[in-house]
């Protein structure tokens, strides 16, 4: 059952997600996995010294789900995982709002920690999302970070 499609949940959406509901979806009727690791990315108020007021997230709709599914498939090839849930929001997001959720279950913690970090690192360089920053000085597109590219390449 490990690779059954219903073990994956991938969503690109405007609406917020509920952490308690996500945890429930990862763990309900799942007695074979002893580890749950999740990551949540938030909109923070400062980027490279600029005071951020909001973020706007654009994506390439036809490609995003496909790209995220491929990342989950790769993670499953590397680690023995139970459930994987990946949510990425798009549209305009205010300070402190949730942007992204990655949740992974596995029998033991090692695989869950590694797969969660792997998915975030790969998502940062391979999934077609772009952030535009709104600041008091105006709006501009965020530039990709070399450190993200290096980190994704380390896996």
């Amino acid at each position: 059952m490990t690779n059954a499609p219903q073990q994956n949940h991938i969503s690109v959406q405007q609406q917020d997600f509920d952490l308690a509901a996500e945890y429930q979806a990862l763990t309900a009727n799942n007695q074979s996995d002893g580890a749950v690791v999740h990551f949540v990315g938030l909109v923070r108020d400062n980027n490279l010294g600029r005071q951020v007021q909001a973020l706007e997230l654009e994506h390439y709709p036809a490609m995003t789900s496909k790209a995220l599914s491929e990342l989950v498939d790769e993670a499953r090839q590397r680690w023995d995982l139970g459930r994987v849930r990946l949510i990425h929001r798009v549209g305009k997001l205010g300070l402190g709002e949730q942007i992204v959720f990655v949740g992974v279950t596995s029998k033991h913690r090692g695989s869950a920690f590694a797969a969660c970090e792997f998915l975030m690192d790969q998502l940062k360089t391979r999934a077609p999302f772009w952030k535009k920053e709104h600041t008091q000085q105006g709006e501009h597109w965020i530039e990709a970070r070399e450190s993200d590219r290096v980190k994704a390449g380390d896996w």
């Binding site: 990315g41 997230l57 654009e58 994506h59 390439y60 036809a62 490609m63 496909k66 790209a67 990425h88 942007i99 992204v100 975030m120 998502l123 940062k124 360089t125 391979r126 999934a127 077609p128 999302f129 772009w130 952030k131 535009k132 597109w141 965020i142 530039e143 990709a144 590219r149």
Partner: protein, 81 residues
Amino acid sequence: MIKVLFFAQLREVLGCANLELEANVRNIAELRAQLAQKGQSWQEFLASDKALVAVNQTLVNEDCALNSGDEVAFFPPVTGG
């Protein structure tokens, strides 16, 4: 015909979200060269070191062959997460 899409900053600097052209280019490198003829900003921002490219929703390299009906997308390095 080949459908070409542009996203994010690239869409804004080119002032173009999508276009269609005859499938008379064999690969991505040739497509970039043809689009570069549209003007200075096209030449500058579509350079292979600035714009990633996907064919039919999968990231590809310069030598990826193109066929009629393909959807090609150019975009800046991604910044999600």
